[in-house]
């Protein structure tokens, strides 16, 4: 999965849609032919705040979906939570405004060549790239089940059209305001054995990804997770976004999650060493 995404390009792109969905903004950006290079799991990096911005770093967002229409040509969709000043600025943009964007970046979810059983687990806006992934998996003939979770219903992102591409969808909220009450991770062990899951695809907060890795640790289910480390550059030149990952020989290295990720093998990440000093 590792390495530089050779199709990455930088461009001035136009916002062609910005719609509030629950606590998120669904933002559509016209990017032309580059859509064909965007795969589920890839992300974009966007310059924020305009010409006199005090924010010097780009913001990373997963590509949720790609579309091509006669009106806009190729376009990508982002699901953005207005969190701090950068994402809030982005959510405030109107149709027609332009942004400086770099895409596609990072690794994509690996797609099996045979029809396997896949469980997709998304926390919060982490569900964004999973619907596009589900479509691809369905085309390959996979069985696709999905779990979505968040603290509250307004943070569940589950568009209608997306629901069609999955065999089953269960939603968990911690406050019980939507779907079942509880944590998204609680049913995983049972589902994995009941549905004879071959691969789990996950995207969401690091704590969720770690919990899933722990659950799958004793199984031979493959875990492809899209991680979210703070990224200063998104293109591999700053070394801020590293995670401790074991290689085939068992050696642990700090890998850049922007180019060796965001999609990584959950079993190879040394979750207990995240945020610790690694001694080589």
């Amino acid at each position: 999965m590792a390495g530089i995404n050779r199709s990455a390009a930088q461009l001035l792109a136009t916002i062609v849609g910005n719609k509030k969905v629950g606590q998120y903004h669904q933002i559509l950006i016209s990017v032309g032919d580059l859509v064909s290079q965007c795969k589920p799991g890839n992300f974009v990096a966007i310059s924020v705040g305009g010409p006199s911005s005090k924010m010097v770093l780009r913001r990373a967002f997963a590509i949720s979906r790609t579309t091509t229409s006669p009106q806009f040509g190729g376009a990508i969709e982002l699901i953005v939570a207005p969190h701090g000043s950068g994402s809030t600025w982005l959510c405030g943009l109107a149709e027609g405004e332009q942004i400086d964007i770099t895409l596609p970046l990072g690794t994509a979810f690996g797609i099996p060549t045979t029809n396997v059983n896949a469980l997709l687990v998304g926390g919060g806006y982490g569900s964004a790239p999973l619907f596009g992934l589900a479509e691809v998996l369905k085309e390959r003939g996979c069985r696709v089940d999905m779990l979505l979770g968040a603290s509250t219903g307004a943070k569940i992102y589950a568009p209608l059209e997306g629901k069609r591409s999955v065999n089953s969808l269960r939603i968990f909220t911690e406050d019980g305001s939507m779907g079942e009450t509880g944590r998204i991770t609680s049913p995983i062990a049972q589902l994995v054995s009941e549905l004879q899951i071959d691969v789990v695809y996950s995207c969401g907060p690091m704590a969720m990804l770690k919990a899933i890795s722990d659950i799958l640790g004793s199984t031979d289910v493959v875990h492809q997770c899209a991680v979210e480390e703070a990224m200063a550059c998104g293109i591999g030149i700053c070394m801020t976004c590293v995670l401790p990952v074991k290689d085939e020989t068992g050696k642990i290295n700090n890998l850049r999650s922007c180019i060796d990720g965001p999609v990584m093998d959950g079993a190879a990440i040394e979750w207990d060493l995240v945020g610790k000093t690694l001694v080589l």
Partner: protein, 314 residues
């Protein structure tokens, strides 16, 4: 535009343009190469390399700050062997001009790194990073103390011999940067790189503890540009003949021009590349245009121009 001589020199090394990457802000070059041709800029300054592979500091390693950022990478890198075998070989193949940055925990380590680089083909100069604030032991910031800075540079000079220019990279976190600058030049450096990051800290409002894994980090970006300009100006005033590779918050051609007027013969671009992968090309084009518009016929004429009396208008 046609007439401008845009080339520069640092010691006996010649570069077709004065815009370089900043050490640690371009990894080993491959990652930027997909956005522009590395040969189109002055040179790539590699991330500071140490003897052994290093994992660096714990995450989080960065915090954005107003018009800047803090980093605490802690010199993560593959070590000199892997660097020579992979990164350097690749860069040489690309025909990029290369300045290798080295860092050590002891003066001996610096000298032994210099020994490994002696005679390696394709290197234009050596940047000696004696000023990294992102190491476990802050006592290791050689550039904060005259004697230790001199010891390192003397060792490198002795080892490397007379040919490859040695550029000593200094820290702004000192009471008197001019005395350190003079000291390392006396000890055998051919030029100076000014400035490394400024020591800073951010506290995370949620955890209410220092945000960075390494607690303190190095402040870079436009926020520190006035400090860089001041340091370059002071040092150029004291040592007008010593070539300076300037850096600190450059993100436009006008910013690069400011450092050049203060006394820099070359300008490294760091943080700006994080915000814009093609920043180096943009800065280089803008600078070329500014020099032309101002009527300079060569970059060299503009170096240190701010020191000339007001009457010497051009």
């Amino acid at each position: 535009m046609s007439q401008l001589d845009f080339s520069t020199t640092l010691g006996n090394a010649w570069f077709p343009t004065p815009i370089f990457t900043a050490s640690g802000c371009a990894s080993s070059g491959k990652e930027l190469a997909q956005f522009f041709d590395l040969r189109d800029m002055g040179a790539i300054v590699t991330k500071s390399i140490m003897t052994k592979p290093r994992a660096g500091r714990a995450t989080p390693r960065m915090a954005e700050t107003p018009s800047g950022m803090l980093n605490s990478i802690g010199l993560q890198g593959p070590g000199i062997d892997a660097f020579l075998a992979n990164d350097l070989t690749w860069l040489v193949e690309q025909k990029a001009r290369i300045i290798v940055s080295i860092a050590g925990e002891t003066a001996e380590e610096f000298a032994s790194l210099a020994r490994r680089l002696r005679g390696v083909a394709g290197i234009s100069a050596l940047e000696v990073n004696i000023s990294c604030p992102n190491v476990e032991n802050r006592g290791m910031v050689f550039a904060c103390h005259l004697e230790s800075a001199q010891t390192v540079i003397e060792g490198v000079r002795r080892t490397i011999g007379g040919d490859l220019p040695i550029i000593a990279k200094l820290s702004p976190d000192v009471t008197d940067i001019v005395s350190i600058a003079r000291g390392v030049i006396d000890a055998g450096a051919d030029g100076l790189a000014l400035i490394n990051t400024v020591l800073g800290m951010v506290i995370n409002p949620n955890t209410m503890r220092p945000h960075l894994g390494g607690r303190t980090g190095g402040l870079s970006g436009p926020a520190i540009r006035p400090i860089a300009v001041r340091a370059i100006y002071q040092v150029h005033e004291a040592l007008p003949k010593v070539p300076i590779l300037g850096m600190g918050g450059v993100s436009s051609g006008a910013d690069a021009f400011e450092l050049i007027l203060a006394g820099a013969s070359g300008v490294s671009v760091g943080t700006a590349s994080f915000g814009n992968p093609t920043a180096i090309m943009k800065i280089q084009n803008e600078l070329r245009q500014i020099l032309t518009d101002k009527g300079f016929s060569s970059l060299r004429e503009a170096v240190g121009f701010a020191h000339r009396p007001e009457s010497s208008v051009r």
